[in-house]
Symmetry: C2
Subunit: 138 residues, 2 copies
């Protein structure tokens, strides 16, 4: 069997993709434990991520493979991919270059529930316009 066929049989077949062919993925910084973002992968994105060891998602808004960092430079190197007990969620331990969020913040979960509403608890580390030129990475 080719590498692809082995990968398909041993790993991809065990993932319970949803009706749209997607699985949610939690990206966590491998050494600090920060939860960086939640995104989605289809079968091709999981395969590419495992083969290239660089995280590739499926962009639901663009309906295309989303090679994280391709336009922003903020790559995620894959350290380890984990599957949950039900087979329907992935945890990607990654090494994030720079910031994960398209707003320029380190992670996407920067708003906390407070009595007065969702309240920002982190500032951008990079101006978003410095991350992107013509196209959006998010």
């Amino acid at each position: 069997m080719s590498t692809d066929a082995i990968l398909d049989a041993s790993l991809l077949e065990q993932i319970a993709f949803d009706a749209a062919g997607l699985v949610p993925v939690v990206a966590q910084q491998f050494d600090t434990g920060e939860v960086l973002m939640l995104a989605w992968m289809n079968r091709d994105a999981v395969r590419e991520t495992l083969l290239r060891r660089q995280v590739c998602y499926w962009s639901r808004s663009r309906a295309a493979l989303w090679r994280k960092g391709e336009t922003s430079g903020q790559h995620q190197r894959l350290v380890e991919l984990r599957l949950d007990c039900d087979g329907d969620a992935l945890l990607a331990l990654v090494d994030q270059s720079g910031v994960a969020c398209h707003t320029g913040r380190r992670d996407c979960f920067y708003r906390a529930a407070r009595p007065q509403g969702w309240t920002p608890i982190a500032e951008p580390l990079v101006a978003p316009e410095r991350l992107y030129r013509a196209t959006a990475d998010h």
Copy 2:
């Protein structure tokens, strides 16, 4: 306005629930950073979680509110709820009593991608049959 109405206007209205009325939630142990599980909430589950400060999910398999720990005793006390940049994913910082996973493991992401397949990297800390009597919590 009642507490409920304030909660709805200030917090629930900002969440982008999907077509099924659900939002994915990452549960993370607040002090160690462990990613415990990924589950789903509907509007009522978010409201109850914020009001009771005990995590309540929506069980897609049972189509019912799932008060985490109700049958297993493995509760999740809410420390903070966070919303992501797109408003379509939540991060719940929790204090997990015992184990999060119905297999008796501390977290649900106990299988790592290896060339030979998904490989368990954690053992159960509690026998699943000790967690459940007649009904399942998961």
